[in-house]
């Protein structure tokens, strides 16, 4: 995946700072994602990774700095505006509707695309029916894409964790985003589930042309799929570059990665 030519800049965050009382979550962070790029955000716990995602899709508004996206530069996003403009995300602790089926959860991802109001949809007649069918067809494509056909009608709460993560990705993709923000999509998964998830992220990036901002702790995964790695520490950005560069950056090693052992080196060589 490395060495691809990046597209135009899709999202640009300039000089963003965010604090909660005395805690500085982000300090003067510059961050950007190109079109069709997979950018990993790494760093120790509390480094401000999730805060950065939350600023980007408007959950938090920053104290300082600007966000440029979709031809507009503004101080802060609003969540529904971000969603309308094609920013979708998943959460560290799964945020699905547990009692609803997989199908309904993924359909919910298309709510913003529905033209007809609640009443029309309740009537399910004429144009509303046609619209629903069209959305359903798109949702089925995503279900096929992520290979969750076998649980289509199963309530999400009954699914194992790894599958719930996949359903969350499905719901995010249902919004046909330009930018997909994934907050630890592989935490708590076994190796096989991680491999599947990597495959899905790469495929989504490759075939749907989605840019991906990804928080992940598993360095093997990051090295494998990211085009670029951004490292945060205590709310500051300490590195930004190709995975191989970041891996040998002394500041990053001190803050997060630790001194590489021989085994790490071997793994790294194999990964690249």
């Amino acid at each position: 995946m490395q060495g691809r030519v990046p597209g135009a800049v899709l999202l640009q965050v300039r000089g963003v700072s965010l604090s909660f009382g005395g805690v500085h979550a982000l300090r003067d962070v510059d961050f950007h994602i190109h079109e069709r790029e997979i950018c990993a955000i790494i760093g120790p716990n509390g480094a401000g990774k999730s805060s950065l995602l939350n600023v980007i899709n408007g959950v938090y508004s920053p104290d300082k700095g600007t966000i440029s996206y979709g031809g507009e530069t503004r101080r802060s996003m609003r969540p529904h505006r971000a969603a309308q403009q094609g920013i979708a995300r998943t959460f560290q602790n799964i945020a699905l509707f547990k009692g609803m089926s997989v199908l309904d959860n993924v359909m919910a991802g298309r709510a913003l695309k529905m033209q007809r109001g609640v009443l029309w949809q309740a009537l399910y007649w004429g144009p509303a029916e046609r619209e629903e069918l069209e959305h359903r067809a798109r949702v089925e494509k995503i279900i096929d894409f992520l290979q969750i056909e076998h649980v289509r009608r199963t309530p999400v709460g009954r699914l194992p964790y790894g599958l719930q993560k996949r359903v969350e990705l499905a719901r995010a993709l249902a919004a046909e985003p330009k930018l997909l923000l994934l907050d630890e999509p592989m935490a708590g998964m076994n190796i096989e589930e991680k491999q599947d998830m990597c495959r899905f992220i790469l495929d989504a990036n490759d075939e749907l042309g989605v840019a991906v901002g990804l928080i992940e702790h598993d360095m093997a995964v990051v090295m494998d799929i990211a085009d670029r790695v951004v490292v945060l520490d205590y709310g500051r950005k300490i590195a930004d570059g190709a995975p191989a560069e970041v891996r040998v950056n002394p500041e990053v090693i001190a803050a997060y990665l630790g001194v590489p052992t021989e085994a790490d080196d071997r793994a790294l060589r194999e990964a690249s």
Partner: protein, 648 residues
Amino acid sequence: MPAADTFPRLLIEHAHQRGDRPAIREKDLGIWQTYSWKQSLDEVRSLACGLHTLGLGRGDTLAIVGDNRPRLYWAMDAAQALGAIPVPLYQDAVAEEMAFVLTNADVRFAIVEDQEQVDKLLEVKSRCPRLELIIYDDPRGLGHYDRAQLRAYEDVQAAGRDLERTRPEFFEGEVAQAQPGDVAIMLYTSGTTGTPKGVMLTHDNLIVTGRGGIQRERLTADEEVLAYLPMAWVGDNLFSYCQGHVAGFCVSCPESPDTVLTDMREIGPTYFFAPPRVLENLLTTVSIRMEDASRFKRWLYARCMELARRWGPSILDGKPVPVGARLGYALADGLILGPLRNVLGFSRIRVAYTAGEAIGPDLFQFYRSLGVNLKQLYGSTETSVFVCIQPNGQVKPESVGTPATDVEVRISDQGEVQVRSPGVFHGYFKADAATHESMTPDGFFRTGDAGFFDEDGHLRIIDRAKDVGRLQDGTLFAPKYLENKLKFFPFIKEAVAFGDRRPFAAAFVCIDLAAVGNWAERRNLPYTGYIDLAGQQPVHDLVRSCVEQANAALAADPRLRGSQIHRFLVLHKELDADDGELTRTRKVRRGFIAEKYAALVEALYSGQPAVRVETQVRFEDGRTGLVRAELPILEALTVDDEDERRAA
């Protein structure tokens, strides 16, 4: 039924006679997509022409790898239309295993389902020098691959349509050249003994055999069939592809291997095949869900199933049943059995087969008592599946029925089952010696199975012929038959029987930790783990009662009553593939075990009361350790002639 004699001619005939009727279905994006016979023919024609432009010709082989998909079935038709030989491979085989078949079969072209299979083939391509081109169905994930070795299915068909325009008579001309005696397909046997061998079956082999089955079961063009078992397996080829082509019924492909249960319910097959493993999993699903049901429902289920077990099989066989029992069964059918069949997707089944391995009598009778006409079948790849089938109305759980249409079955002097039929194969590919060895001079195929005909003329298979031995007094000893009898008890996980050239039969038994553990808990019997539980007196008594029940069943059969189990011991450890005691497919490696535990085997025959044992075991993390135990040698009651005389 059409009289066409090759698969491509059958396809053309159906396209003319019932062009708009469904031929094959596939669930795609959640919706069943149906292709008529006419559409199927169009797809096959353009694919065949496309394959011709790539250079696929008479006698070439075409590998087919993937789940059951219409496009892969069409690939079979297309290859056969050109006089080429399709070679379906097991889709879950690892790259290594595929490399063997691809090389052995001289494969030049492969049609595969998706990226997973493309990756496997590319991995071994350097070792398969003749493999030129991989044609894929699903382009997903293949965007960055080197195009030189890959071609999209659509592109091949597009090239084919160009050829059709310039030479419209080409396809029919090719089809006209095929002879019924030509090799139609090559299927690799699983290879439990040595390397896999390519079994060549002709159009005639399959079509005549398939037609015989259709006539026997009165199958029509209106059957519904779900094709969910591997395409590389002869059963799928015969039940889905061959009989679909002969009878003209519609075959449905499930959405994915994980959705088979849902798809079963939606399709409602009328003709169904399942190996015992699948039927067992279904029963487990039902049992687990019943455990979670409310007390009233559990009670109702238990009562209805009791009634069904008692009367269901007799009603299904059309035997006389008291009116009261019929009424009771009808009520149970309305309350539980019918809805259960519906949940399983079995509501419309007229004929269901099981085969592949021995099926436990309880499992078998469960489905029959539900009113599902499940029947056992005996056959092999080399005989185009059908050798014996249980006839309607005369289903005996322990036999595999009577010879199928046009099949001659005989038992050799050594007790081996030998078969002569129109379905007996053409030969093993590039293995004339093996072909020669497998046939008798008068044209019977040696199955390698030992069996006999019972008093009603039903065939009973007891073991692999080479494993069958004799006790010292000359009594027949069939170890696998004894082991299966024991394994059908839920408390017994594995059994290993000994007796060849010995005075009597004896066995090692491994308990099923889950089942016996549960049993122990209900009796407030504390235990720490497998070794502890297996060493307890009450567990020994439990196993003894199983062995004695098995002996009673053996005694009922004059040929086998001599091989009742006199002594046994409960092993201190589970047999494990990691320790080399089982094969990866969980078959007991009897020879290895006899060698490894020679001291235990001797103890069984020496008459000593107990034996000390020390065994190295390998744990899952790779460490090894020593297990020590003292195993008592246990005696089981046998039923002998004197007992019966005394009882009389």
